[in-house]
Symmetry: C2
Subunit: 335 residues, 2 copies
DNA sequence: TGAACCAAAGTTACCGGTAACATAAAAGCT
DNA sequence: AGCTTTTATGTTACCGGTAACTTTGGTTCA
């Protein structure tokens, strides 16, 4: 296997073509003010003419900074993250960082594997979904010494920066909305229960118990959530608990699926059955009727993460912090 | 700014602790069969005990191979890609490759920028959405000499590997389905027309003209597609062309949004208006009625890309090739 | 006029690995 | 036994950049 000495243009090539040393070229490209106007122009010209592409691996190796940040998300198909990501990316790319995306498939073990991988890529910071990690993951993260962000949920013991919302309180508030409207035999439907989902389930249970109501009408599954699944689960629930008068769906996809199933059965929503989802995705405003949900300020989460992280990357000290971005219960047509 | 000589464990540390040179450690970890059993075990033990994390930048720099592949997608929120990606990732991660995801935001210029970035990361291959690129992008790609994949659409002049389907023919076939069912005043609705969408529009037009029907009932917008937008656009179209009897929606999101709008207006689908989407996402099987669509074999595309790419990465020569994965028109309840 | 300073380049060493070749000891073969 | 092979390890150089320090020559200013 021969070395790839291929056609790749290096700093040295530019240096030779201009008649200087490579460090001068490096400076001209990174810190132009340190190089004389005339020379700088000749170097830039030569770089363009030769088609120079910097080698970030070499740069990162030499400088100890990779100018990249890892963003771990549970699943690419989880729409909740696309807006968060947009905020992060806009903020960080302006500061010259590249965002590397990995997805954990909702598995803490896979998260651990990814942490290892991205550390070996030398990322300068890492953004994680959630606040629960394997012991080994915690060890790796702590040892690495890089800035960290845990997001979506809140914790009392953040590793570093924590930006999220109280999932459980949000679930309580949404359950409250059911109660205010007179629903009593309210069920809960959840798929692929990650920690956030479990917190929401706990919130629903808490509020139901507090109201002296039964929590038995609860159906969960480890399968990934989808529209179809929402419909199937609703069917099961109606069969099992014929007196059901409302369903708290763990997320908007399930809620939409449940709504479609109601339409199929000519079951009036919200008259015969109240429905609500969680997250506030686009679809909740589009269906007929529109879907009640808890809107999470995802874009703001992304922006906030970018801001906080930049400060840390620029040397702000590690002071574990916790930012509650809040939530908003939106009661649309389905309640 | 001090060098990050921090606590990071290197091959040398392991070597010192075991009493060998670092190349032996390197070998023990990468090519275990070349190192004696006893020594190998001691090295592995030391590596684990010290918490060694390899530095891929250094490895890539020295070997000229980064064991990573860039996957460019138009948008993270585009569900069409999540399955394609799953196939790619499963195939390539088994072969030890890391998939780096970037998103172009449907912009060829942004794609060009990303190509530059990922080349500077030294990726060993690149997977691109579509077959159209800026001149500069083509130049960069060709010069890089790495294996390339262009996907989703087909071209007669692939850069390297081309895996996709004939978008225009698929649109013709779907239009055909409208015609067979007696629809005549069929409109077309499209948002954020990337090249694939334009090809579909062209297919619709072709078939309509061939049938001697009008193509005037066509509404497009550069805005990103969403459920809401589908509803809004349908409203505009109904206002403008009161006699509309069917709408070919450029994708499933728009189709679902249009369906929701019909429900709001108590407009019977498919009785008063026929609807169809494109891609075959989960939602098309969930709505009431279910949505007609063209199902694209996304998972197969992903698998095929992984297979073809692996061959190239293992040294198969560059022989431009074109793989047509086909499509399937599925007429569900909305037609 | 000469010490102090600054701007603009250059020298050297090093980041943490891997390739390619070299060596030493053990094993196989006639 | 002596020669070739094989196996297990080491030596050296290099990948393509950057940090830190040094050199050179011109300015500033008392």
């Amino acid at each position: 296997m021969p070395r790839r000495s291929s056609g790749r243009v290096t700093l040295q090539h530019i240096a030779d073509s201009v008649g200087v040393t490579k460090i001068t070229v490096s400076r001209a490209l990174r810190e132009p003010h340190l190089v004389s106007e005339d020379l700088r122009l000749r170097i830039e010209e030569a770089a363009a003419a030769l088609g120079y592409i910097p080698n970030r691996q070499a740069g990162a190796l030499a400088s100890g900074r990779s100018q990249s940040v890892a963003l771990l998300i549970p699943s690419l198909s989880n729409a909740v993250f696309s807006e968060i990501q947009r905020g992060i990316e806009e903020g960080l790319s302006a500061a010259g960082y590249q965002v590397l995306i990995g997805h954990t498939g909702y598995s803490l073990l896979e998260e651990e594997r990814l942490i290892d991988t991205y550390l070996s890529y030398g990322v300068d910071a890492m953004i994680l979904p959630g606040t629960r990690h394997t012991d080994q993951a915690r060890r790796l993260l702590t040892r690495s010494g890089i800035p960290l962000v845990e997001t979506l949920e809140l914790t009392d013991t953040p590793l570093d920066i924590n930006v999220g919302l109280d999932q459980s309180a949000a679930a309580v508030a949404l359950t409250e909305a059911f109660l205010e409207r007179g629903y009593r035999r309210i069920g809960f439907m959840g798929a692929r229960l990650d920690h956030r989902a479990q917190l929401r389930l706990a919130g629903w249970k808490r509020r139901m118990k507090q109201a002296g109501l039964s929590c038995e009408r609860c159906l969960t599954t480890p399968r990934p959530s989808s529209y179809r699944l929402g419909g199937d689960m609703l069917a099961s629930m109606l069969e099992r608990w014929a007196d059901l008068d409302g369903v708290f769906c763990n997320n908007d996809d399930l809620a939409a699926g449940a709504l479609f199933e109601c339409q199929r059965r000519h079951l009036d929503v919200p008259g015969q059955l109240g429905l609500a989802g969680f997250n506030g995705l686009d679809i909740t405003e589009a269906t007929t009727p529109t879907l009640a949900t808890v809107v999470t300020p995802r874009r703001r989460i992304g922006d906030l993460i970018a801001r906080k992280l930049q400060a840390r990357l620029q040397g702000a000290p590690l002071v574990p912090c916790r930012e509650d971005v809040g939530f908003e219960v939106v009661c649309r047509g389905s309640l």
